[in-house]
């Protein structure tokens, strides 16, 4: 009681403002911005004279990786105020703040013989702190690009909080010649189109290569015998074998289960197409669907418990989800148009698909229950989406109109931003994105 009286007295004495504040000022922010984060990556410090060029090349690959995501924007070297000449020297944050660099990557490279050692550090410029600890990678000179990708993956992961995808490879169908005389062969490349290697010749048509979960093998369909048959190719040895199939049947659209031991595929027999699974080791096949309609393009959920596929059982081509052991399927696509080539995201939260509607093709994503459908692209012909290892980017094939139309690979962020071509020496289609390399 005494205190209250005293407080009242004090308020009348004019000292109330001093007592007005009790606790911090609280506000809530619900609207921000979405824009590329400015960063700087000076040439890596060369610790030996032979490392100068390597330091420049690695810095360029790191910058290209980060910029290519659409989430980062590189501040060119011409804008840098500070010059990083000593990897261990303190960072002049003020100089980097002045050019609005929010992240700074510094590094050093040491080339000795066939071996290259790369160190790097990442700084949060405005916080004036290092983001994570410094890392060091050791590799061969020939593999310098992989080291650069690994640095970029680490930077990406530390800033965004999700895994990277730069040190990964893509298998796809390389295409040459006109539409009427197109020659196709399997090729494998880095995610950014570098280091292309061909896995097959172009004597027979090949289709739909699919990486295994750990990237050691590739499934694909070939018309070598005149009928489509499924092959398993070992990426390391480039040895292959055909999956067993019955006489008079056609098998196609294969895809590995996450465990790498099982394959799901479509088998066409007597004019009817259904989905089967097969144990690769035992060649034991199991029929998963049994309908007079066409069921194809199966894709496992990341945990291997479910399969999404396309079917025209409702009269038009739509997407369905069923248990990995078969049984009743539930339809998840209900929009206008036709849906096909569904692929489950590595995160498990989204399904990418090809949609044909009103004379145009789209790449889109939807939740696994079919909700929140969102079309990301629109063109004369877009098809065959595949997910990056972190589930953030989709690569697909785009074909231009006309007899001279070219098929090439594109990538797009799942938000629909950052649509960009993937440079390949020849045309490309049917991409399959492999996992991050060890």
């Amino acid at each position: 009681m005494m205190v209250r009286v005293l407080c009242v007295l004090l308020m009348f004495m004019g000292v109330a403002p001093v007592l007005a504040q009790n606790g911090p000022l609280r506000i809530e922010i619900t609207e921000g911005v979405i824009e590329p984060l400015p960063f700087a990556v000076p040439d890596l410090v060369a610790e030996t004279p032979a490392s100068v060029q390597m330091g420049q090349q690695i810095a360029r690959v790191i910058a290209a990786d980060l910029t290519g995501t659409g989430l980062f924007r590189e501040l060119p070297a011409s804008a840098h105020i500070s010059r990083v000449t000593d990897f261990g020297a303190p960072v002049q944050y003020a100089d980097w703040k002045a050019i609005n660099a929010q992240a700074l990557v510094t590094g050093a490279v040491n080339v000795q013989g066939d071996q290259v050692v790369v160190k790097f550090r990442l700084y949060d410029v405005f916080a004036g702190t290092e983001l994570g600890d410094g890392l060091q990678f050791v590799g061969t000179v020939d593999g310098w690009r992989r080291i650069a990708h690994k640095v970029a993956d680490a930077v990406y992961s530390r800033i965004t909080g999700e895994g990277g995808y730069f040190d990964s490879r893509v298998v796809y169908v390389s295409e040459t010649g006109s539409k009427a005389e197109r020659r196709k062969r399997l090729a494998i490349m880095d995610y950014d189109g570098a280091n292309v290697q061909y896995l097959t010749g172009s004597e027979a048509i090949v289709l739909a290569p699919r990486f295994s979960a750990n990237g050691d093998r590739v499934l694909y369909t070939s018309y070598e015998t005149g009928f489509p048959r499924i092959y398993v190719l070992d990426v390391g040895s480039v040895q292959r074998r055909v999956l067993e199939s019955q006489e008079g049947t056609m098998s196609f659209a294969p895809r590995f289960a996450p465990n790498g031991r099982t394959v799901v595929y479509s088998l066409s027999q007597n004019g009817n197409t259904d989905i089967y699974s097969m144990d690769i080791a035992t060649s034991q096949a199991q029929r998963l669907t049994n309908a007079p309609s066409i069921e194809t393009a199966p894709s496992f959920s990341p945990d291997g418990s479910q399969i999404v596929f396309e079917s025209d059982r409702s009269g038009s081509q739509q997407l369905y989800v069923m248990s990995a052991s078969g049984g009743e399927a539930r339809r998840i696509s209900f929009g206008d148009g036709r849906y096909g080539t569904p692929v489950w995201s590595p995160r498990g939260d989204l399904i990418a698909f090809t949609k044909q509607s009103k004379g145009r093709f789209h790449i889109g994503v939807m939740r696994v229950d079919g909700s929140e459908e969102r079309l990301l692209t629109a063109s004369f012909l877009d098809e065959g989406p595949t997910w990056s290892p972190n589930g953030r980017v989709i690569m697909f094939a785009r074909e231009t109109q006309g007899a001279a139309g070219r098929t090439s690979l594109y990538s797009v962020d799942i938000t629909g931003r950052n649509l960009r071509p993937v440079r390949t020496p020849e045309g490309g289609s049917d991409p399959s994105w492999g996992p991050l390399q060890p």
């Binding site: 007005a20 606790g23 909080g161 063109s379």
Partner: protein, 352 residues
């Protein structure tokens, strides 16, 4: 035979002569007749010819025949064509009725009437794609303007000026759209219905009302200490020198909110971090700058620990990066904003 002869000649079929009219004529000689022809009156040609009926003329002035036009009419019924060519008298063409002239011109449709109809047929505006997504759409800045949240014109030194002006570069906010526009959503191919699920308007940001506290310190159990504390803080001591002033106005809070939100970049956040709301607390110096060492995450909700850390980093960058020369806060109310807690809620940013 006798009977037949009796019938024919015996007068059985005798009939009365038929009555007929007779006219008496006078017989004249040929010479007298010729004389009559030469001295007799000439036939009245003009009057004998029936006048052609006047054509029905359309009162429309456009169809009014002019004097050069040939009027086609039905041929007059004339029994014997006269020996001499006689031009028929031009029919009298009735004058078309002259429309009543009104001095006041009819009112023409006003342009604004057309404009008023325009929105019904105008295409639905679709946001332009832009590399930057912000709460407010911003048009592309002038090419020579440096990106800056504050728009200002360039100032160059004027040699003739008495007081030299400080040179400054033109600045303008960066181009921005209010949401991400995919290739499938670009205006030329915009779908009629948005594939985006309808978003609910979030509830207005909750603010903690800065109501004046009855005392500067929580009331302790020991009332004698409370009295002493209150007296000490009110009448003397360092903290008492902090001008608290009245609570910040809504406008002053909004200014701070807008300043920080313009630097809160969630574009590089993972989906996990975008699920995470973080509360960041920090102290402020009198010049409106946050004290970096005081910055801390008070709490987080909605995501994993890793997501919370990423969200906190982005929030911290926003607070520091947009400090500039200090947030514009009233120094006379320093006690009200000496400590700040900001809740960063990315819920609305997930569907951009």
């Amino acid at each position: 035979m006798g009977l037949i002869g009796w019938v024919l000649f015996g007068g059985v079929f005798q009939s009365e002569p038929l009555p007929f009219d007779t006219t008496e004529v006078s017989v004249i000689s040929t010479e007298a007749f010729e004389a009559l022809l030469t001295t007799g009156p000439q036939p009245d040609m003009a009057t004998d010819v029936a006048l052609p009926l006047a054509p029905e003329v359309d009162p429309d002035p456009v169809q009014t025949p002019t004097s050069d036009e040939t009027v086609t009419t039905d041929a007059p019924v004339v029994a014997p064509e006269p020996d001499t060519e006689i031009a028929p008298t031009a029919p009298e063409i009735p004058t078309p009725p002259v429309p009543e002239v009104v001095d006041v011109a009819p009112e023409a449709p006003q342009p604004q009437d057309l404009a008023a109809l325009a929105p019904e047929i105008a295409p639905v505006p679709v946001p332009r794609p832009s590399e930057r997504v912000a709460p407010e759409a911003v048009a592309p800045p002038p090419p020579d303007a440096a990106p800056d949240p504050v728009e200002q014109e360039a100032v160059t030194a004027d040699e003739g000026a008495q007081t030299p002006a400080e040179e400054q570069q033109a600045t303008a906010p960066e181009e921005a759209a209010t949401e991400i526009v995919t290739e499938a959503e670009e205006p030329a191919r915009a779908p009629r219905t948005s594939p985006r699920p309808p978003s609910q308007r979030p509830s207005p940001p909750t603010q903690t009302a800065q109501t004046p506290a009855p005392s500067a310190q929580p009331v302790p159990a020991d009332t004698s200490n409370a009295v002493n504390d209150a007296l000490r803080e009110a009448l003397a001591g360092g903290e008492a020198e902090i001008p608290a002033g009245p609570p910040l106005s809504a406008g002053e809070k909004d200014a701070l909110r807008v300043a920080v939100s313009s630097c809160w970049n969630v574009g590089s956040l993972s989906s996990d971090a975008l699920q995470t709301t973080v509360v960041v607390a920090f102290d402020m110096s009198r010049d409106g700058r946050p004290v970096g060492s005081s910055m801390r995450m008070v709490s987080s909700s909605g995501g994993s620990t890793a997501g919370a850390n990423q969200a906190y980093e982005a929030a911290r960058r926003a607070i520091i990066r947009c400090t500039g020369d200090g947030y514009q806060l009233p120094i006379e109310k320093y006690g009200q904003w000496k400590e700040i807690e900001i809740t960063f809620n990315p819920e609305r940013m997930r569907i951009k």
